[in-house]
Amino acid sequence: MSRKPYVRAVRRTWWLRQPRYVVYMIRELTSLFIGLYSAWLVIGLVRLGQGRTAWEAFLAATSSPPAVLFQLVCLAFAAYHSITWFAVTPKAMPLRIKDEPLSGKIIVGGHYAAWAFVSLLVLIAAGV
């Protein structure tokens, strides 16, 4: 890496110029909601460690209308993250079997199958 890298001036609104740049930015911003929801889960874990009363207070907090609204937004971004993440897996992680490249459809499909399996497992573990 050079010591004085050249930083080209960019307009902060460059991504509004084209619809596909906007889509790119939405895809990258999914990470903000992934991070925020992780923090919410950690709060839940901390509350769990504080005992029954604190845990029940957390369950009440996560059921409050603002928290539900926040989590529905997170859900939309998280699902979009899953879809876009799986879509690039053939490029990020190309697989070969006996020197033959594995079809991208199989790699993506495998991820969707894993998504369904993990979701089902978690729902069963949670007592559905």
């Binding site: 930083v7 001036a9 960019v10 307009r11 902060r12 460059w14 991504w15 930015m25 990258e28 911003l29 990470s31 903000l32 992934i34 991070g35 929801y37 992780s38 923090a39 919410w40 889960l41 950690v42 839940g44 874990l45 901390v46 769990l48 460690g49 029954r52 845990w55 029940e56 369950l59 996560t62 059921s63 928290a67 539900v68 926040f70 989590q71 529905l72 997170c74 859900l75 998280a78 699902a79 993250h81 899953s82 993440w85 799986f86 990020a92 991820h111 894993a114 998504w115 993990v118 979701s119 978690v122 729902l123 949670a126 007592g127 559905v128």
Partner: protein, 112 residues
Amino acid sequence: MARSNKPVLWLPFAAGGLVAALIMPVLILITGLLVPLGVLDLPYERMAAVAHNPIGKLILFGILALPAWHAAHRLRMTAHDLGLGSGLGVKATCYGSAVLVIVAAAAALLAV
């Protein structure tokens, strides 16, 4: 092929992206919809038992820490894309908040 010189940063980033993609939607569905609607109740005893179990602790830590790191790393790159630069302030904000979340998760899991 060029080698990445930052495997320490991006390996957990990639793992976090996968973990988040596989498990976050269903977790949000549970805490944000099924519990509020009263479909599920997540009783204290069962949740505490998961957090007490060593394997449960490890799984919970992975579910919490990897996506948090993923988010921090990706937000840092996005901040750069938005012309916010890649200086110390951006790095400290992104990785700092992830480290805070990860340390809080580890501390809570060790204390339970």
